[in-house]
Symmetry: C2
Subunit: 268 residues, 2 copies
Amino acid sequence: MTYANDHTALPRTKGAVLRAGEVCFAGSGPGDADLLTIKVLKALQEADVILYDRLVSDEIMALAGEQALLEDVGKEGFGPQMSQEEICSRLVAHALKGRKVLRLKSGDPTVFGRLDEELVAVEEAGLAYQVFPGITSASAAVASIGQSLTQRGRNSSVRFLTGHDTKGFADHDWAQLARAGEVAAIYMGKKSARFIQGRLLMHGAATDTPVTLVENASRANQRVIATTLATLADDLAAAQLTGPALTFIGLAPRASAAALETLKMELA
Amino acid sequence: MTYANDHTALPRTKGAVLRAGEVCFAGSGPGDADLLTIKVLKALQEADVILYDRLVSDEIMALAGEQALLEDVGKEGFGPQMSQEEICSRLVAHALKGRKVLRLKSGDPTVFGRLDEELVAVEEAGLAYQVFPGITSASAAVASIGQSLTQRGRNSSVRFLTGHDTKGFADHDWAQLARAGEVAAIYMGKKSARFIQGRLLMHGAATDTPVTLVENASRANQRVIATTLATLADDLAAAQLTGPALTFIGLAPRASAAALETLKMELA
């Protein structure tokens, strides 16, 4: 860990953000430490104990205060992980001891963050809590390809969905996503790519509908794969992604952004 | 403007973020300066010129570097505002002079931010650009009511839409939003509340579907109005909201968060 970490002072925009005996649920954003909010950075510096998911990046964990006890709860990782019950019981136990407890999740805790189970446990223990938002990976990923999630004349709504649950999607969901101009950001969609491709084509989506995959959004090892609905599953298999990936249906990288991305890859 | 602004050093997470002769499109988040990302805070400090929308809060503009020329382009305000053409031409002119140009939009520039028109102008002038995401108001607002945008067993997708364009919504969009468990965040939905209420009820939504309005999300004057689909339009009219408001269909404030909110209001 050679990451620079000599923060000395924060802009005094407001005072301290954590309180003793409370649990703060916060989003770290997708990985780039510069995408932390000031509020979450303050929480990292103030916390007595930080329970963090494996997807929270090392460069972000390096910003934790020296006093902080760090507990890797492993969620969203591929190795052994702590049970949800155990995470909840630790959050409560730490807060009951009067500690400033930070529960740090990658991305935004309110978007596919499984926030509710932990929040209910804290609530049922009679403890106070706060929720601090984070940059969700769709937002960082779409910025990196020079596109908007919504655009006048193209789409007046955007949908975030998870690949995990797509098999339970109703037919009219698919019919709607299949329309020209629709934009959707699919989280954790790698395993379901072929299923999603099949459903959209079955519901009349154009084979040349642009699809963009962004792996490791905002991180130094970010990769962008521009494809179409026709070639999505094959291109995804060929790319052998290993990191978390976001799939945009209906968006291609902006030409100038794509050129920049190519340049970066050639220089790397 | 009595807002404290004695920032002296940022955590050296990375180096400078702006480059001379380029335009950076960035999101300020919904208003609370603590919800700025470190990246956008750096951009505020580095910029030679900042073109900002009226909804960017004073406490955020107070964090701009002393060297920065500040240009209020007025967008999204109610007073006189600069034309889109004029904004584009200024962005290009400043960048062509070799300045570090920051185009600061409230919220996230990729979510109902009208980013594309300005980005295309910069691209057509042969200039380089970057896009920095921001916390979108739905994310800050949902955190403040202790809820998630998605939740296992309730909804595996969430939709962001704008009230401005809802009249162009297809009937099956309404049918889908009307289903139990669906969650949507409606931006700029004050004027269309009665229309949206009517469409959802017509498509079979339950009259007791929870609806929550969050005005001035994340700001000191944030207000939360918990209502239902049956009483949405009347409660909205009674509340006489004057600030930007977000409407959540399918979400009520968590009981403990609601208690906190009431307490805050009583103390205020």
